[in-house]
């Protein structure tokens, strides 16, 4: 009996692979330009499932879409009351946490993907944060990782969108994810997972490019590459504006 069960478990992915379903993906845009009046952006992700054989009738198709911004180490600090005031005390460095992460699913997350597949593909928000070592005096490491998720969720940077993917006829799927205005530049990895029986049967990966353009790009580059010139330019503009407004006022009062 035990052997049979093991065999069945082994057979499931093989059977799933046997149906050979593939993702054909479309994006409303594959670049996001951060301009001076950038106010967030809505990305429409749509696609179809390409298959040679008819879909298995007993296992419904589920889809999970994720968009992941560039991952960077983050220092999380916790306040404690010391001498009557609230002071940062414990600090923990999270080795890597994405600057943006959105997960959209076609159903309740835990019902459509198994824990082991979530772990393997780093799908859910907590699984996208990597934490290697923590100093020994911090015993509640989890609280720090949770704080990252909580703070970034409140800022719209982490989004957990259950039931946000619509599937039509077991073939077409679409969802839209709102990118907030406080985006970080970088390559946003976009992944689509097809699932049957809580197992990933196919996935597809592409990249959305988020870049500053025009004046934003110019100012940002100048500030990093020529900080002295950038600083002097800032001052020159400041002084000119100060003098200009003063002169304008003088003319205005004389008139």
């Amino acid at each position: 009996m035990r052997h049979l069960l093991a065999l069945c478990l082994l057979l499931v992915p093989v059977a799933a692979a046997g149906t050979s379903e593939e993702v054909v993906l479309g994006l409303s845009q594959n670049r996001v330009a951060i301009t001076a009046n950038f106010d967030g952006s809505e990305i429409l992700i749509f696609g179809a499932v390409k298959r040679e054989t008819p879909p298995p009738a007993d296992q419904p198709l589920d889809v999970i879409v994720t968009i992941e911004g560039p991952s960077l180490p983050v220092t999380v600090r916790r306040k404690e009351k010391r001498y009557g005031i609230w002071v940062n005390t414990d600090a923990l460095e999270i080795d890597s946490a994405p600057a943006f992460y959105a997960v959209a699913t076609s159903g309740p997350f835990n019902e459509i993907i198994s824990d082991s597949d979530d772990l393997r593909h780093h799908v859910s928000i907590p699984r996208s944060i990597r934490l290697v070592g923590a100093p020994s005096h911090i015993t509640d490491v989890d609280a720090f990782a949770k704080a990252v998720i909580r703070i970034r969720s409140n800022n719209g940077l982490y989004q957990f969108l259950e039931d946000a993917v619509r599937i039509d006829q077991q073939t077409l799927f679409r969802t839209s994810i709102a990118l907030p205005s406080n985006l970080t530049e970088g390559d946003y990895k976009t992944r689509v997972f097809l699932l049957r029986n809580r197992t990933v049967i196919a996935n597809y990966e592409t990249v959305i490019n988020v870049r500053k353009v025009g004046l934003e790009r110019f100012l940002f580059n100048l500030s990093r590459e020529q900080p002295v010139i950038y600083g002097l330019l800032s001052l020159a503009i400041a002084i000119l504006a100060g003098w200009g407004a003063s002169a304008a006022f003088r003319i205005f009062r004389q008139a």
């Binding site: 002071v87 703070i151 100012l219 500030s223």
Partner: protein, 307 residues
């Protein structure tokens, strides 16, 4: 209209920034303070990262003070000699302040330092000014018939060596106190993103005994150069000066400063000081409450390694 700030990497309403700049600019012109002590906390409040707020505010103060100082130069209410002595101290202080700022940023304690500095300085300065000018107003009301002849007190300041004559202020005093005042103001400029007028103005009046008339113009003169230097230091070590943010704040700020300078001319010095003191105390109380009450979010995120 939303605008995306290239260095702060956040999107904010352009009119909100213009408005903030304008209001703080009016105060700057009225009191001869850079207005940074109000603007920097306001920028934190609308979601600008603290490091960017402090550095950009220094840049913005250059602009708002520039139009102010032009107005004062025209009225000949700037003591250039005193301003230069204050400036020398200020440049040294700013350099030291940026070093301290960057060190504490790496420790994650820079917010606490900034807020504690605000609470202590604003509390002491605001309290002293409030009591002093309140008494002055009462005296002026009660004893109008027999005005007490105002005699400059001779205190410890006058016992120090290296004396110098400051004609515009009508003073003959040691250069050590103005140098030290300049130094501490420079440190504050770098750490708190303030011009430092709120500490320099009272120090010039009460410690150096300068006439109120030249205090505002002279402090603006020093502030321009110290904040310009601070801007350069932050721009080259932290890359945190946001030009777009600065331009928006200063457009509002320079216009406000012009209006404020004109309002200031028509008001009595005591009234000005009571108003300033009340405002200083209000900001102080708000910041003190932030430190004393349990914050809604105990955790905060920062870039790793403090860079």
């Amino acid at each position: 209209m939303q605008i995306y700030l290239p260095i702060a990497e956040v999107s904010v309403n352009a009119f909100l920034l213009l408005g903030l700049g304008g209001i703080v600019g009016i105060l700057s012109g009225m009191f001869g303070v850079g207005g940074g002590f109000l603007m920097t906390p306001l920028l934190f409040f609308i979601g600008i990262p603290p490091a960017v707020a402090v550095a950009t505010e220094a840049n913005q103060i250059v602009a708002s003070s520039f139009s102010g100082v032009l107005a004062h130069l025209k009225r000949k209410t700037v003591d250039l000699k005193m301003g230069t002595v204050l400036l020398i101290g200020g440049l040294v202080g700013a350099a030291f302040g940026v070093l301290l700022f960057n060190y504490l940023k790496s420790l994650g304690q820079v917010d606490l330092l900034v807020k504690l500095c605000y609470v202590v300085f604003l509390g002491v300065v605001g309290g002293l000014m409030f009591i002093e000018s309140f008494n002055a107003i009462r005296r002026a009301r009660n004893t109008q018939a027999t005005p007490v002849p105002k005699r400059r007190q001779r205190n410890w300041v006058h016992a120090l060596p290296f004396k110098m004559r400051f004609r515009t202020s009508g003073l003959y005093i040691s250069v050590i106190p103005p140098l030290l005042i300049g130094l501490s103001v420079g440190i504050l400029a770098a750490i708190m993103g303030v011009g430092g007028g709120f500490i320099m103005v009272p120090a010039m009046i009460y410690l150096l005994g300068m006439p109120t008339k030249v205090v505002v113009g002279t402090s603006l003169f020093q502030i321009i150069f110290v904040t310009a230097f601070t801007t350069m230091l932050h721009a080259t070590t932290n890359y945190t000066v946001d030009m777009a943010l600065a331009v928006l704040l200063l457009i509002g700020g320079v216009i406000g400063a012009q209006i404020g300078t004109r309002i200031g001319v028509h008001m009595k010095a005591e009234q000005l000081r009571v108003l300033l003191a009340a405002m200083v105390l209000a900001v102080c109380a708000k910041l003190a409450l932030d430190l004393l009450l349990q914050p809604a979010e105990l955790y905060s995120l920062g870039a790793a390694g403090g860079h």
